[in-house]
């Protein structure tokens, strides 16, 4: 059970994590402290682990920067529920282990401060006593989320115990 943080349409990656911080901040706590800085100055201080972001269309459009995902993950955000996601953001989200759910009906019904619960195994989210089904994630996507991201997931799948960190820039 978490609290809803509700935002509108077209929130881009710069509003989620500003470009000016991309090369200067490296530590998870520093990165989390800047989450949504230019969208909602209260968020980083007030959000609690388990909270959920609910947003309109095209959440995360723009840059391929992965901190726009990891800043929320480090903050302990459980999921982002949106009407739609920027294409690269969606891939970065799953590959970095952040649950992203497309469910326009729930977005329309949600208000900031509502209690929300996400039942992943049954692909349904509960909000104000109502249930909203969402398209199920594939077993692979679920596996990636459970493992904490794409690279750890592949290691697990292939039975590899290496823990060497893998860092990559975006694709072209």
């Amino acid at each position: 059970m978490g609290k809803v943080w509700k935002y509108g349409d077209g929130v881009n990656t710069d509003l989620i994590f500003a470009g000016k911080h991309t090369y200067t901040l490296r530590e998870p706590e520093e990165i989390a402290a800047r989450a949504l800085e230019d969208l909602d100055p209260n968020f980083a201080a007030a959000a609690r682990p388990g909270d959920v972001i609910v947003a309109g269309r095209n959440w995360g459009n723009g840059s391929s920067r992965e901190q726009a995902v990891t800043c929320l993950k480090y903050k302990g955000i459980t999921a982002v529920v949106a009407k739609s996601f920027g294409r690269i953001y969606f891939r970065n989200g799953i590959n970095q282990g952040l649950l992203l759910i497309t469910c326009p009906e729930a977005v329309d019904a949600a208000q900031s401060g509502d209690e929300i619960e996400i039942d992943l195994p049954n692909s349904v989210l509960r909000l104000n006593g109502r249930a909203f089904p969402f398209p199920p994630l594939s077993s692979t996507a679920l596996g990636i989320l459970e493992a904490g991201g794409l690279i750890p997931h592949i290691r697990k799948k292939l039975g590899i115990t290496s823990t060497e960190a893998v860092t990559v820039g975006g694709g072209e």
């Binding site: 459009n61 920027g86 891939r91 594939s138 077993s139 292939l158 694709g171």
Partner: protein, 431 residues
């Protein structure tokens, strides 16, 4: 309710009976494309902790982005790739000078209609020209594909664009694409599968069609596709028969694997574009959707004219340029670079006399490959210079210099402008 091209193609690639937009599937690509970035991906692959790639027979690599190597660092990169290919027994490696990945894989017919190709290159939607599903992925994702043979993909929603009528005199598929991107914006097709069809596209040569899904990467799409027809099946049948690495396939075999959307498939949007109303179009600095009619930018002085790239470096592009510069000279203070998209294009252009015509007019011919498209070598710009290019992307700094300006247009416009020393209308320069 019927299914779109994307729903059918990704269901097939995932081994599922059906799939719908929004669903996430585990897709197994028929071909995994990489290029000069292969060595960087190999480092990620090794860091995962895997010894052998899972799909050596599906991996295809070209050395094209900085080829031949302009610096020792680039040479080392190529050497590492060759070593990796040998060590892992990877099936396809196309060496320096063979050409650009998207053009070479099309010529070699290593991908066919209805198949899935994933590439660590943002213009992988290119293969939609033949009705294949092509999409770009990140480097760690490509390493994941090598390790496991599969990648999760979200089935995209689809947009249909119907191009009615007929393109006017001198107006090309490049102008059509720039006009579409200019009208709907660089995110007009964001994350979508864009299906383009209609009489104006049917009437086009295959080479002109190849421009379209390639350019749609600049529309934000996940993939774009055209309906494959007789011309496509015939081209590919001939190619598989001539290829050393492929098993020959008949036209009927290739056609039987093609995917067509159902008549009652669900589209998020449907647009109609009237080909007759498309003007000669130029994308101005520094975004592709900053597209304007040629007549508004005519007379802009240029320092360099570049004909080439995976977008417009094919035989008909070079032929169009040769026809325009025949018996004329490139203007003083301007240089014309022509870089064929592949060795095959180059040999055909040589045989037909186009290269001689171009050189007589003062053009410089480069080794088949990407050339200066992304600022690596063979024609990068100086500060303050202006380049008119046939490429697909004009972002600030793309050709190696932040304070340079890049305009994009069709090969005929670029050739006419080289002769004029400024952006010009090929219909006025005369053929």
């Amino acid at each position: 309710m019927g299914y779109t091209f994307a729903e059918k193609a990704l269901a097939r690639a995932a081994g599922l009976p059906t799939a719908v937009a929004g669903q996430v599937v585990d897709a197994r690509p028929d071909i995994a494309l990489s290029h000069d970035n292969t060595a960087a991906i190999a480092k990620i692959f090794r860091a995962i902790g895997v010894e052998r790639v899972a799909i050596p027979e599906k991996m295809a690599i070209t050395l094209d982005h900085a080829a031949p190597a302009p610096t020792p660092r680039h040479a080392l990169n190529h050497a590492e790739i060759r070593e990796f290919v040998k060590e892992q027994g990877i099936k396809y490696l196309f060496e320096v000078g063979r050409g650009i990945c998207h053009q070479v894989f099309s010529e070699e017919a290593i991908i066919l209609p209805g198949q899935l190709i994933l590439g660590s290159d943002s213009h992988t939607p290119h293969f939609g020209w033949m009705g294949a599903f092509g999409a770009g992925v990140g480097r760690s994702e490509m390493a994941a594909i090598w390790a496991t043979g599969e990648l999760w993909l979200r089935v995209p929603e689809s947009i249909r664009v119907i191009v009615t009528g007929k393109l006017g005199r001198g107006v090309t598929s490049k102008d059509l694409c720039l006009a579409i991107i200019g009208r709907f914006g660089a995110d007009g097709g964001l994350y979508k599968s864009v299906e383009l069809s209609g009489p104006a596209i049917e009437a086009m040569s295959l080479e002109s069609r190849m421009v379209i899904p390639n350019m749609m990467a600049e529309f934000g799409v996940k993939n774009a596709c055209l309906p494959p027809d007789e011309k496509v099946f015939e081209y590919l049948a001939k190619r598989t028969s001539n290829s050393k690495s492929q098993t020959p396939k008949t036209k009927t075999e290739i056609e039987s694997n093609a995917i067509h959307p159902d008549a009652d498939a669900r589209y998020e949007n449907e647009y109609t574009v009237d080909a007759d109303s498309v003007e000669l179009t130029v994308a101005c600095p520094h975004t592709v959707d900053n597209a304007r009619p040629l007549r508004e930018v005519k007379g802009t002085p240029i320092h360099q004219a570049f004909i080439g790239t995976c977008t417009n470096g094919r035989l008909e592009d070079i032929a169009a340029a040769a026809e325009i510069v025949q018996g004329k000279r490139v203007a003083n203070g301007c240089r014309l670079l022509v870089i064929p998209a592949s060795s095959e294009v180059m040999m055909d252009a040589l045989r037909l006399g186009h290269l001689q015509t171009l050189m007589e007019a003062g053009a410089v011919i480069g080794t088949p490959g990407c050339g200066p498209c992304m600022g690596n070598h063979m024609g990068v710009l100086a500060p303050g210079e202006v380049c008119l290019s046939t490429a697909n992307r004009n972002f600030r700094g793309r050709m190696g210099q932040t304070d340079a300006e890049i305009y994009l247009a069709s090969p005929a416009v670029v050739a006419a402008s080289a002769v004029a020393g400024m952006i010009a209308d090929p219909r006025e320069v005369g053929g």
